[in-house]
Symmetry: C2
Subunit: 402 residues, 2 copies
């Protein structure tokens, strides 16, 4: 063990169904290695750190820890703040003041960047700090990782929703659009195909941000499927954009004269509105005729924290990622990010490896090009990749005419 | 047993997570009583009957029946047709042609009315027909029933979604609106409160169609909660309407110059659009300031057929309702509708009683007035009523500052 001091754990960005597994894994990892100082949970992430607003975690009984781990969303609270250099300076000062020597931050690529900057500040000041980033994002878009904690459970939600909606759409045929989260990466939208059984089952079309979106091509695709099957189920990522890179969601907001809302990262609001789905419905009606039955659902925030729809693999891996970060931090004067890396497909096995903070920070991974078919569907390669991460889906049985 | 002849089973209206339980229960009930003629599943409900489009069900092995029962949505397919007198005449002619003597129709109050009319046509013609309506609706709005098959599972989905979204909203505070299905009855929207733990947990406000909706009052309510808690989670039924009875969804569609889509029953389109949620978001922003963070999700069709979120009680009762209909039909020259009636709260027990088709046809049950609090919340009486129907919800654990 290195220098004596307290630990801070924070949970950042959009919550997931398993981010509390990582929190608890981290606490368990510290305690398991004999850590005997304070474990401070930062209340609402970086904001809690600069406000010195902490929840002590070192004395929580194991059964309560287990219940917290199984609860979706960030138990410590999260924050939308994107710390700049001055903000990171404040974080570092809190650490000095509270003799914090271990810093664990669960989040996406922005969070790993925060970790990196705070870590550099400590180094510059000659202050021993063990900073670890714990991966988390339902978007599954962290580089160096085979996949990220949070993705498997959100993907399971999307897969189960599409299985149900395909059955619904078979019973009452029509055109149905479902908008799925994912600003830059299509992994979550691709999960729509995981429960697809048979070639005429939905989703029949899948649009991800990795392929440029063309409204006319979209309408042609839908009409082709609809005239063949009498129905069409469509998965659309909220992040679809046209050939010049403008998100459709931003485009239509401007068209409709709406104020375009942006977050601290400069991102246009995509989630929490049905506008994109409704716009695409209207496009199809304009193309195919007003009387065409078109419906759109936007899955929205349900995808990330629905209670009772979780991937066991995701739970286990999120816990292990947190635990590994703690154990590595306790093993010497090192820092880094934990990356989940697949070592075998059959049987499915992964390793939790340390990578440099700079390797993962502020970069985005995308769906491989050859997993996208004709710009409007997802290949079997994705299914092979995602199935062990998502785990078994509930079985369904069809009644077909002989 | 009465006269020899074939049986027809149909599944009507919006699918549910357990309508296939009723289908299978009905098949099991017939076979269990020694029925040895054809059991014809009507492909897409009444439309399948008039088109003589049937799927034979009498020889399906039990394990396949079990898998079908566990699969959400209507395995036979459903239909949006609302049969008028001439349509029912055609149904009756198909029955004569195929020597159909047993007719089972699972659906809501419109479906029971179809059953009633066809039954009367048979009586007028002196044709022995045993027509039974099997209750089904996620809206839970059939009279004479304590509750209806399909409701428990949809209510569980809504409860789990709100539990997760409350955790999400705690982690990243803001104003969040969730629009829930339910045109005339607020039972499904009320289910939002079933997983509510503690007085400051969401949903903080619940709006059902049984109380008139006033936009100004709504904004005042939201601002009051938001200034107290720094967040506000809101459940809104898609069927909310103003004091003169105009649905908000229809009102805003007209405001926006959209074509107002109506179904065969004359109902305005409510589901399959995010417009109502987006409109309410805008109302709050107009009232509280443009920079207020407001998000809206519309749960949409996910509520009725999501794979993997089902109430065990709902499954068991839907199966029993189908079985009881079959057994009663085989017991003599009778017809009717099956009503689920509660006989005890503690322990929870129900009976499946025969009622007259005319008793349930084309009537709507509403949330009792004293289950609605101040026009913007739901009382503990509802929780006591709904808990055994929905069954246990996944546990969640909070981390609170001491």
């Amino acid at each position: 063990m290195s220098i004596k001091g307290n630990a801070v754990i924070g949970q950042s960005g959009g919550p997931t169904a398993v981010i509390n597994q990582s929190l608890v894994g981290c606490v368990e990892g510290l305690l398991g290695k004999g850590f005997d100082q304070k474990i401070l949970g930062a209340h609402h992430a970086v904001r809690g750190i600069i406000n010195e607003d902490f929840i002590e975690l070192q004395d929580i009984p194991q059964d309560r820890l287990n219940h917290i781990a199984d609860t979706p969303s960030a138990a410590l609270g999260s924050s939308r703040d994107k710390p700049d250099d001055a903000y990171c300076e404040k974080i570092f000062h809190t650490f000095e003041k509270h003799n914090v020597r271990y810093f664990f931050y669960a989040g996406g690529n922005d969070s790993s960047d925060t970790c990196r900057i705070v870590n550099e500040k400590a180094k510059e000041a000659g202050y021993e700090l063990h900073a670890f980033h714990i991966p988390k994002t339902i978007d599954n878009d962290l580089v160096c990782n085979d996949h990220t904690p949070g993705y498997g459970s959100a993907a399971k939600f999307v897969a189960c929703a599409f299985m149900g909606d395909n059955l619904d759409n078979r019973a009452l045929p029509g055109i149905k659009i479902n908008v799925v989260m994912g600003r830059h990466a299509g992994f979550l939208t691709a999960a729509a195909v995981l429960g697809r059984h048979g070639e005429n089952e939905g989703p029949h079309l899948v649009y991800v941000p990795e392929a440029n979106f063309d409204s006319v091509k979209f309408c042609e695709d839908v009409e082709r499927i609809y005239s063949k099957l009498g129905r069409c189920l469509i998965a659309v990522s909220e992040g679809i954009h046209d050939a010049d890179g403008t998100p459709m969601a931003a485009k239509l907001a401007i068209q409709q004269g709406h104020h375009v809302e942006r977050d601290a990262h400069g991102n246009v609001q995509l989630s929490g509105s049905g506008a994109l789905g409704d716009f695409l419905s209207q496009e199809i009606k304009n193309y195919m005729g007003k009387k065409t039955r078109v419906r759109a659902d936007t899955f929205g925030y349900l995808q990330r924290c629905f209670v009772g729809c979780v991937s066991k693999t995701d739970q286990v891996e999120a816990r292990a990622a947190g635990r590994t970060a703690a154990e590595l931090a306790m093993s010497g004067d090192i820092d880094g990010s934990i990356a989940i890396q697949r070592t075998s497909d059959e049987p499915y096995t992964v390793e939790y490896n340390r990578i440099e903070l700079g390797d993962v920070a502020a970069k985005t991974r995308h769906l491989p090009e050859d997993w996208i078919v004709d710009g409007n569907n997802i290949s079997e390669k994705f299914v092979q990749y995602a199935t062990p991460i998502v785990g078994p889906l509930p079985p369904v049985e069809f009644l077909r005419k002989h």
